[in-house]
Protein backbone atom coordinates (compact mmCIF):
# COMPACT_ATOMS: atom_id res chain seq x y z
CA UNK A 1 0.00 0.00 0.00
CA UNK A 2 1.03 3.63 -0.43
CA UNK A 3 1.55 5.53 2.81
CA UNK A 4 1.80 9.31 2.96
CA UNK A 5 3.32 10.64 6.14
CA UNK A 6 5.86 13.12 7.44
CA UNK A 7 9.28 11.89 8.45
CA UNK A 8 11.64 14.28 10.21
CA UNK A 9 9.73 17.25 8.86
CA UNK A 10 9.63 16.11 5.23
CA UNK A 11 6.55 14.71 3.50
CA UNK A 12 7.15 11.15 2.33
CA UNK A 13 5.22 8.73 0.17
CA UNK A 14 6.17 5.11 0.54
CA UNK A 15 4.97 1.88 -1.06
CA UNK A 16 5.25 -0.70 1.66
CA UNK A 17 3.47 -3.80 3.03
CA UNK A 18 0.75 -2.60 5.44
CA UNK A 19 2.09 -4.57 8.34
CA UNK A 20 5.78 -3.76 8.08
CA UNK A 21 6.82 -2.24 11.38
CA UNK A 22 8.30 1.21 11.75
CA UNK A 23 11.82 0.23 12.90
CA UNK A 24 12.17 -1.91 9.76
CA UNK A 25 10.83 0.90 7.57
CA UNK A 26 13.30 3.37 9.07
CA UNK A 27 16.22 1.01 8.53
CA UNK A 28 15.38 -0.58 5.22
CA UNK A 29 13.46 2.10 3.36
CA UNK A 30 15.10 5.27 4.70
CA UNK A 31 18.50 4.00 5.89
CA UNK A 32 17.92 5.67 9.25
CA UNK A 33 19.80 3.32 11.55
CA UNK A 34 20.14 5.25 14.80
CA UNK A 35 16.82 4.02 16.21
CA UNK A 36 17.68 0.80 18.06
CA UNK A 37 15.56 -2.30 18.08
CA UNK A 38 14.97 -4.35 21.19
CA UNK A 39 12.18 -6.59 22.40
CA UNK A 40 9.76 -5.77 19.53
CA UNK A 41 6.90 -5.96 22.04
CA UNK A 42 6.91 -2.37 23.29
CA UNK A 43 8.39 -3.32 26.62
CA UNK A 44 11.99 -2.09 26.50
CA UNK A 45 11.46 1.34 24.93
CA UNK A 46 14.80 1.48 23.08
CA UNK A 47 13.07 1.91 19.71
CA UNK A 48 11.33 5.08 20.87
CA UNK A 49 10.46 7.77 18.30
CA UNK A 50 8.07 10.70 18.47
CA UNK A 51 4.67 10.25 16.81
CA UNK A 52 3.02 13.66 16.46
CA UNK A 53 5.34 14.86 19.22
CA UNK A 54 4.54 12.04 21.65
CA UNK A 55 7.03 9.30 22.53
CA UNK A 56 5.96 5.86 21.30
CA UNK A 57 7.54 2.44 20.91
CA UNK A 58 8.11 2.28 17.15
CA UNK A 59 8.02 -1.52 17.15
CA UNK A 60 4.28 -1.33 17.86
CA UNK A 61 3.57 0.82 14.83
CA UNK A 62 2.71 -0.97 11.59
CA UNK A 63 3.10 0.93 8.33
CA UNK A 64 -0.61 1.60 7.91
CA UNK A 65 -0.70 3.51 11.22
CA UNK A 66 1.72 6.07 9.77
CA UNK A 67 -0.76 7.50 7.30
CA UNK A 68 -1.25 11.22 7.86
CA UNK A 69 1.02 11.24 10.91
CA UNK A 70 4.36 12.81 11.67
CA UNK A 71 7.40 10.87 12.87
CA UNK A 72 10.53 12.36 14.39
CA UNK A 73 13.62 10.18 14.77
CA UNK A 74 16.91 11.11 16.35
CA UNK A 75 18.35 11.84 12.89
CA UNK A 76 15.71 14.50 12.36
CA UNK A 77 16.22 15.96 15.82
CA UNK A 78 19.99 16.39 15.58
CA UNK A 79 19.77 19.73 13.76
CA UNK A 80 17.63 21.18 16.53
CA UNK A 81 19.18 23.46 19.20
CA UNK A 82 17.24 21.47 21.81
CA UNK A 83 19.28 18.41 20.88
CA UNK A 84 22.39 20.26 22.02
CA UNK A 85 20.68 21.41 25.23
CA UNK A 86 20.04 17.79 26.08
CA UNK A 87 23.48 16.49 25.12
CA UNK A 88 25.18 19.30 27.00
CA UNK A 89 22.89 18.77 30.00
CA UNK A 90 23.75 15.08 30.02
CA UNK A 91 27.48 15.89 29.99
CA UNK A 92 27.21 18.46 32.76
CA UNK A 93 25.15 16.02 34.82
CA UNK A 94 27.74 13.27 34.21
CA UNK A 95 25.12 11.16 32.50
CA UNK A 96 26.31 9.10 29.58
CA UNK A 97 23.79 6.68 28.11
CA UNK A 98 25.09 3.84 25.98
CA UNK A 99 24.74 3.67 22.21
CA UNK A 100 21.82 1.26 22.51
CA UNK A 101 19.48 3.59 24.41
CA UNK A 102 20.96 7.02 23.56
CA UNK A 103 18.51 8.03 20.84
CA UNK A 104 15.47 6.92 22.88
CA UNK A 105 16.64 8.78 25.99
CA UNK A 106 17.23 12.00 24.05
CA UNK A 107 13.82 11.91 22.38
CA UNK A 108 12.06 10.95 25.62
CA UNK A 109 13.79 13.81 27.46
CA UNK A 110 12.89 16.19 24.63
CA UNK A 111 9.20 15.21 24.86
CA UNK A 112 9.28 15.59 28.65
CA UNK A 113 10.97 19.01 28.60
CA UNK A 114 8.45 20.23 26.05
CA UNK A 115 5.76 19.97 28.73
CA UNK A 116 7.81 20.59 31.85
CA UNK A 117 11.25 22.19 32.07
CA UNK A 118 11.66 21.08 35.68
CA UNK A 119 10.27 17.55 35.85
CA UNK A 120 9.97 15.73 39.16
CA UNK A 121 11.64 12.40 39.84
CA UNK A 122 8.28 10.71 39.39
CA UNK A 123 7.82 12.29 35.97
CA UNK A 124 11.33 11.19 35.00
CA UNK A 125 10.53 7.65 36.12
CA UNK A 126 7.30 7.60 34.11
CA UNK A 127 8.61 9.28 30.98
CA UNK A 128 12.31 8.49 30.63
CA UNK A 129 13.57 5.95 33.14
CA UNK A 130 11.28 3.19 31.86
CA UNK A 131 13.60 2.72 28.87
CA UNK A 132 15.09 -0.58 29.78
CA UNK A 133 18.85 -0.45 29.59
CA UNK A 134 21.36 -1.43 32.22
CA UNK A 135 23.67 1.47 31.43
CA UNK A 136 21.55 4.00 33.26
CA UNK A 137 22.25 5.37 36.72
CA UNK A 138 19.07 7.08 37.85
CA UNK A 139 20.68 9.88 39.88
CA UNK A 140 22.93 11.00 37.02
CA UNK A 141 19.96 10.73 34.61
CA UNK A 142 17.99 13.11 36.86
CA UNK A 143 20.99 15.46 37.09
CA UNK A 144 21.40 15.40 33.30
CA UNK A 145 17.72 16.18 32.72
CA UNK A 146 17.78 19.00 35.28
CA UNK A 147 20.76 20.56 33.50
CA UNK A 148 19.15 20.11 30.08
CA UNK A 149 16.00 21.82 31.38
CA UNK A 150 18.03 24.76 32.69
CA UNK A 151 19.90 25.12 29.39
CA UNK A 152 16.69 25.00 27.39
CA UNK A 153 15.02 27.51 29.70
CA UNK A 154 18.01 29.87 29.50
CA UNK A 155 18.13 29.64 25.73
CA UNK A 156 14.41 30.29 25.40
CA UNK A 157 14.88 33.42 27.51
CA UNK A 158 17.76 34.50 25.27
CA UNK A 159 20.42 34.17 27.97
Amino acid sequence: MIIDFTLNGKPESLTVPAEKRLPDILREDFKLTMTSTGCRRGECGVCLVLLNGRPVSSCLIPAFRLRGNSILTIEGFQDNPEYFDIIQGFLIGNYEPCEHCLSSRILAVHALLEVNLRPTEQEIIENVAFINCRCTDFSSLCAGIAEAGRLKEARSHGR
Binding site: A18, K20, L48, R54, V56, S57, L60, F64, R65
Partner: protein, 294 residues
Amino acid sequence: MGASGKHLSLVQVHYPKNLPALLAFYQKNPRSLICAGGTSLLQSPVWNAPKETIQDVISLSQIPELTHISRTESYIEVGAAAPISQILGIGRHVLSAALESALTRVANGAVRNLATLGGSLAFSDRWLSLVPVLLLLDVRLELRRQSGGEWVPIAKFLERHPLFRPGEMLTRIRIPLEEWNVQHFQIYKSHAFGPLNQLSWCALAQAEKGYLERFRMAVGAPAGLIIRNRELENTVSGKKLPLSLKELAPLQEQLQQTLENVQPRLSFIQKQLMTRTTYWFLLRYLTDLWEDLP
Protein backbone atom coordinates in the same frame (compact mmCIF):
# COMPACT_ATOMS: atom_id res chain seq x y z
CA MET B 1 7.16 -9.86 11.39
CA GLY B 2 8.39 -6.71 9.59
CA ALA B 3 9.87 -7.46 6.21
CA SER B 4 9.49 -11.22 6.42
CA GLY B 5 6.68 -13.48 5.26
CA LYS B 6 4.98 -14.00 1.93
CA HIS B 7 1.56 -13.02 3.36
CA LEU B 8 2.44 -9.35 3.69
CA SER B 9 0.51 -8.18 0.66
CA LEU B 10 -2.63 -9.92 1.93
CA VAL B 11 -3.43 -7.20 4.44
CA GLN B 12 -5.82 -4.54 3.21
CA VAL B 13 -6.35 -1.47 5.36
CA HIS B 14 -9.46 0.72 5.46
CA TYR B 15 -9.63 4.21 6.96
CA PRO B 16 -13.24 5.20 7.64
CA LYS B 17 -13.59 8.95 8.23
CA ASN B 18 -16.47 8.85 10.70
CA LEU B 19 -18.51 6.52 12.87
CA PRO B 20 -21.39 5.84 10.43
CA ALA B 21 -18.89 4.90 7.69
CA LEU B 22 -17.03 2.66 10.12
CA LEU B 23 -20.19 0.85 11.27
CA ALA B 24 -21.42 0.41 7.71
CA PHE B 25 -18.14 -1.12 6.60
CA TYR B 26 -17.88 -3.34 9.67
CA GLN B 27 -21.45 -4.56 9.18
CA LYS B 28 -20.52 -5.74 5.69
CA ASN B 29 -17.11 -7.09 6.75
CA PRO B 30 -17.55 -8.39 10.31
CA ARG B 31 -14.38 -10.48 10.13
CA SER B 32 -12.21 -7.40 9.77
CA LEU B 33 -9.61 -6.71 12.42
CA ILE B 34 -10.04 -3.44 14.30
CA CYS B 35 -6.93 -1.38 14.99
CA ALA B 36 -7.03 1.58 17.37
CA GLY B 37 -3.66 1.85 19.15
CA GLY B 38 -2.44 -1.41 17.68
CA THR B 39 -0.69 -2.61 20.84
CA SER B 40 -3.11 -5.47 21.43
CA LEU B 41 -3.64 -6.30 17.76
CA LEU B 42 0.04 -6.57 16.86
CA GLN B 43 0.60 -9.14 19.57
CA SER B 44 -2.58 -11.10 18.96
CA PRO B 45 -2.41 -14.62 17.49
CA VAL B 46 -4.94 -13.62 14.81
CA TRP B 47 -2.66 -10.92 13.47
CA ASN B 48 0.51 -12.96 13.65
CA ALA B 49 -0.90 -16.12 12.08
CA PRO B 50 0.01 -16.71 8.43
CA LYS B 51 -2.76 -15.35 6.25
CA GLU B 52 -4.26 -17.35 3.43
CA THR B 53 -6.90 -14.89 2.34
CA ILE B 54 -7.02 -11.13 2.27
CA GLN B 55 -7.25 -9.82 5.80
CA ASP B 56 -9.16 -6.57 6.16
CA VAL B 57 -7.96 -4.20 8.82
CA ILE B 58 -9.96 -1.16 9.91
CA SER B 59 -7.85 1.67 11.25
CA LEU B 60 -9.70 3.88 13.74
CA SER B 61 -7.05 6.58 13.68
CA GLN B 62 -9.07 9.04 11.60
CA ILE B 63 -12.36 8.88 13.50
CA PRO B 64 -12.51 11.85 15.90
CA GLU B 65 -15.64 10.57 17.73
CA LEU B 66 -13.65 7.61 19.01
CA THR B 67 -10.85 9.62 20.63
CA HIS B 68 -13.05 12.27 22.21
CA ILE B 69 -13.19 12.62 26.00
CA SER B 70 -15.98 14.56 27.68
CA ARG B 71 -17.01 15.13 31.27
CA THR B 72 -20.19 15.88 33.16
CA GLU B 73 -20.74 16.23 36.91
CA SER B 74 -21.49 12.56 37.29
CA TYR B 75 -19.27 10.78 34.76
CA ILE B 76 -16.41 10.89 32.27
CA GLU B 77 -17.10 9.59 28.79
CA VAL B 78 -14.09 8.25 26.91
CA GLY B 79 -13.94 7.34 23.21
CA ALA B 80 -12.88 3.71 22.88
CA ALA B 81 -9.82 4.67 20.80
CA ALA B 82 -8.54 7.40 23.13
CA PRO B 83 -4.96 6.61 24.19
CA ILE B 84 -4.45 5.85 27.87
CA SER B 85 -2.07 8.82 28.22
CA GLN B 86 -4.90 11.07 27.03
CA ILE B 87 -7.19 9.68 29.74
CA LEU B 88 -4.47 10.25 32.35
CA GLY B 89 -4.31 13.82 31.09
CA ILE B 90 -7.78 14.41 32.56
CA GLY B 91 -5.96 14.78 35.86
CA ARG B 92 -5.65 13.21 39.28
CA HIS B 93 -8.27 15.44 40.84
CA VAL B 94 -10.95 14.09 38.47
CA LEU B 95 -10.03 10.45 37.85
CA SER B 96 -10.68 7.86 40.51
CA ALA B 97 -7.42 7.19 42.36
CA ALA B 98 -7.69 3.44 41.73
CA LEU B 99 -8.24 3.97 38.02
CA GLU B 100 -5.40 6.43 37.78
CA SER B 101 -3.15 3.97 39.58
CA ALA B 102 -4.19 1.16 37.23
CA LEU B 103 -3.74 3.30 34.12
CA THR B 104 -0.22 4.34 35.11
CA ARG B 105 0.68 0.69 35.52
CA VAL B 106 -0.21 -0.19 31.94
CA ALA B 107 3.14 -0.95 30.30
CA ASN B 108 5.27 2.20 29.98
CA GLY B 109 4.84 5.80 28.84
CA ALA B 110 5.71 5.03 25.22
CA VAL B 111 3.06 2.30 25.07
CA ARG B 112 0.44 4.34 26.93
CA ASN B 113 0.63 6.92 24.14
CA LEU B 114 -0.66 4.19 21.79
CA ALA B 115 -2.69 1.75 23.91
CA THR B 116 -6.40 2.44 24.37
CA LEU B 117 -9.03 1.64 26.97
CA GLY B 118 -11.12 0.04 24.21
CA GLY B 119 -8.28 -2.33 23.35
CA SER B 120 -7.90 -3.31 27.00
CA LEU B 121 -11.58 -4.31 27.06
CA ALA B 122 -11.96 -5.86 23.62
CA PHE B 123 -9.23 -8.47 24.10
CA SER B 124 -9.94 -10.68 27.12
CA ASP B 125 -6.24 -11.55 27.49
CA ARG B 126 -5.70 -7.85 28.29
CA TRP B 127 -8.22 -7.69 31.13
CA LEU B 128 -5.69 -8.14 33.91
CA SER B 129 -4.60 -4.52 34.37
CA LEU B 130 -7.71 -2.40 34.08
CA VAL B 131 -10.87 -4.47 34.11
CA PRO B 132 -11.13 -5.15 37.88
CA VAL B 133 -11.09 -1.38 38.50
CA LEU B 134 -13.55 -0.63 35.72
CA LEU B 135 -15.84 -3.36 37.08
CA LEU B 136 -15.85 -1.86 40.59
CA LEU B 137 -16.50 1.61 39.24
CA ASP B 138 -19.64 0.29 37.47
CA VAL B 139 -18.43 1.47 34.09
CA ARG B 140 -20.90 1.29 31.20
CA LEU B 141 -19.93 0.50 27.65
CA GLU B 142 -21.56 1.70 24.47
CA LEU B 143 -21.79 -1.09 21.91
CA ARG B 144 -22.75 0.08 18.44
CA ARG B 145 -23.87 -1.58 15.25
CA GLN B 146 -25.07 -0.01 12.04
CA SER B 147 -28.64 -0.66 13.12
CA GLY B 148 -28.25 1.00 16.53
CA GLY B 149 -26.52 0.82 19.85
CA GLU B 150 -26.92 0.08 23.53
CA TRP B 151 -25.23 0.95 26.82
CA VAL B 152 -24.22 -2.21 28.64
CA PRO B 153 -22.95 -2.49 32.25
CA ILE B 154 -19.42 -3.81 32.20
CA ALA B 155 -20.40 -6.77 34.42
CA LYS B 156 -22.80 -7.97 31.70
CA PHE B 157 -20.25 -7.33 28.97
CA LEU B 158 -17.67 -9.52 30.71
CA GLU B 159 -20.16 -12.41 30.78
CA ARG B 160 -20.82 -12.32 27.05
CA HIS B 161 -19.59 -15.13 24.78
CA PRO B 162 -18.45 -13.96 22.32
CA LEU B 163 -17.88 -10.44 23.58
CA PHE B 164 -19.16 -8.86 20.37
CA ARG B 165 -21.91 -9.80 17.95
CA PRO B 166 -21.08 -9.64 14.23
CA GLY B 167 -20.71 -6.02 13.13
CA GLU B 168 -20.79 -4.74 16.72
CA MET B 169 -18.05 -2.65 18.28
CA LEU B 170 -17.17 -0.79 21.45
CA THR B 171 -17.40 2.95 20.85
CA ARG B 172 -17.58 4.76 24.21
CA ILE B 173 -16.84 4.05 27.86
CA ARG B 174 -18.72 5.90 30.59
CA ILE B 175 -16.89 6.08 33.92
CA PRO B 176 -19.02 7.26 36.88
CA LEU B 177 -17.45 9.86 39.18
CA GLU B 178 -18.35 8.45 42.58
CA GLU B 179 -16.71 9.31 45.84
CA TRP B 180 -14.73 6.64 47.66
CA ASN B 181 -12.74 7.30 50.86
CA VAL B 182 -10.31 4.51 50.21
CA GLN B 183 -9.21 3.20 46.83
CA HIS B 184 -6.44 0.76 46.35
CA PHE B 185 -5.12 -0.95 43.23
CA GLN B 186 -2.29 -3.42 43.25
CA ILE B 187 -0.83 -5.44 40.42
CA TYR B 188 1.53 -8.34 40.91
CA LYS B 189 3.64 -8.81 37.79
CA SER B 190 6.87 -9.95 39.32
CA HIS B 191 9.44 -12.29 37.79
CA ALA B 192 9.33 -13.95 41.20
CA PHE B 193 5.86 -15.29 40.41
CA GLY B 194 6.10 -15.89 36.66
CA PRO B 195 3.73 -14.70 33.93
CA LEU B 196 0.97 -17.23 34.66
CA ASN B 197 0.72 -16.17 38.31
CA GLN B 198 0.11 -12.49 37.68
CA LEU B 199 -2.72 -10.94 39.63
CA SER B 200 -4.39 -7.56 39.91
CA TRP B 201 -6.36 -6.58 42.97
CA CYS B 202 -8.64 -3.62 43.56
CA ALA B 203 -10.83 -2.46 46.44
CA LEU B 204 -12.99 0.61 47.04
CA ALA B 205 -14.48 1.62 50.38
CA GLN B 206 -16.75 4.46 51.43
CA ALA B 207 -17.34 5.31 55.08
CA GLU B 208 -19.74 7.78 56.60
CA LYS B 209 -20.39 8.65 60.24
CA GLY B 210 -18.23 5.81 61.49
CA TYR B 211 -19.89 3.12 59.36
CA LEU B 212 -18.58 1.40 56.28
CA GLU B 213 -21.30 2.35 53.81
CA ARG B 214 -19.97 0.49 50.80
CA PHE B 215 -17.16 -1.94 50.09
CA ARG B 216 -16.21 -3.46 46.71
CA MET B 217 -13.39 -5.77 45.77
CA ALA B 218 -12.34 -7.49 42.54
CA VAL B 219 -9.41 -9.50 41.32
CA GLY B 220 -8.07 -10.12 37.83
CA ALA B 221 -5.88 -12.97 36.63
CA PRO B 222 -4.43 -13.86 33.21
CA ALA B 223 -6.63 -15.42 30.52
CA GLY B 224 -9.53 -13.10 31.29
CA LEU B 225 -10.40 -14.39 34.78
CA ILE B 226 -12.16 -11.70 36.83
CA ILE B 227 -13.44 -12.48 40.32
CA ARG B 228 -15.87 -10.41 42.31
CA ASN B 229 -17.80 -11.75 45.30
CA ARG B 230 -20.78 -9.62 46.23
CA GLU B 231 -21.60 -11.76 49.28
CA LEU B 232 -18.22 -10.92 50.71
CA GLU B 233 -18.74 -7.25 49.93
CA ASN B 234 -22.16 -7.27 51.60
CA THR B 235 -20.75 -8.92 54.70
CA VAL B 236 -18.27 -6.11 55.16
CA SER B 237 -20.57 -3.27 54.11
CA GLY B 238 -22.62 -1.59 56.83
CA LYS B 239 -20.27 -2.53 59.67
CA LYS B 240 -19.22 -0.07 62.32
CA LEU B 241 -15.64 1.06 62.05
CA PRO B 242 -13.07 0.20 63.06
CA LEU B 243 -13.53 -3.50 62.38
CA SER B 244 -12.26 -5.78 65.09
CA LEU B 245 -9.93 -8.65 64.40
CA LYS B 246 -12.76 -10.93 65.53
CA GLU B 247 -14.95 -9.59 62.74
CA LEU B 248 -12.25 -10.21 60.17
CA ALA B 249 -12.14 -13.97 60.81
CA PRO B 250 -15.46 -14.84 59.05
CA LEU B 251 -14.43 -12.61 56.14
CA GLN B 252 -11.33 -14.67 55.67
CA GLU B 253 -13.42 -17.83 55.66
CA GLN B 254 -15.70 -16.35 53.06
CA LEU B 255 -12.74 -15.36 50.95
CA GLN B 256 -11.38 -18.88 51.17
CA GLN B 257 -14.78 -20.17 50.03
CA THR B 258 -14.71 -17.85 47.02
CA LEU B 259 -11.29 -19.14 46.15
CA GLU B 260 -12.49 -22.73 46.37
CA ASN B 261 -15.21 -21.93 43.83
CA VAL B 262 -12.70 -20.78 41.25
CA GLN B 263 -9.93 -23.05 42.42
CA PRO B 264 -9.15 -24.82 39.15
CA ARG B 265 -8.24 -21.54 37.54
CA LEU B 266 -6.22 -19.94 40.33
CA SER B 267 -2.76 -21.13 41.30
CA PHE B 268 -1.47 -21.45 44.83
CA ILE B 269 0.60 -18.28 44.38
CA GLN B 270 -2.41 -16.32 43.13
CA LYS B 271 -4.53 -17.46 46.07
CA GLN B 272 -1.80 -16.43 48.45
CA LEU B 273 -1.51 -13.03 46.81
CA MET B 274 -5.26 -12.52 46.85
CA THR B 275 -5.85 -13.51 50.48
CA ARG B 276 -2.80 -11.68 51.77
CA THR B 277 -3.64 -8.45 49.92
CA THR B 278 -7.26 -8.55 51.06
CA TYR B 279 -6.29 -9.13 54.67
CA TRP B 280 -3.66 -6.39 54.44
CA PHE B 281 -6.24 -3.96 53.04
CA LEU B 282 -8.79 -4.73 55.75
CA LEU B 283 -6.15 -4.39 58.43
CA ARG B 284 -4.60 -1.28 56.97
CA TYR B 285 -7.72 0.70 56.27
CA LEU B 286 -10.69 -0.72 58.13
CA THR B 287 -9.39 -1.67 61.56
CA ASP B 288 -7.45 0.39 64.08
CA LEU B 289 -5.75 2.46 61.45
CA TRP B 290 -9.03 3.76 60.06
CA GLU B 291 -8.78 7.03 61.97
CA ASP B 292 -5.39 7.75 60.41
CA LEU B 293 -7.01 8.22 57.04
CA PRO B 294 -6.87 11.71 55.59
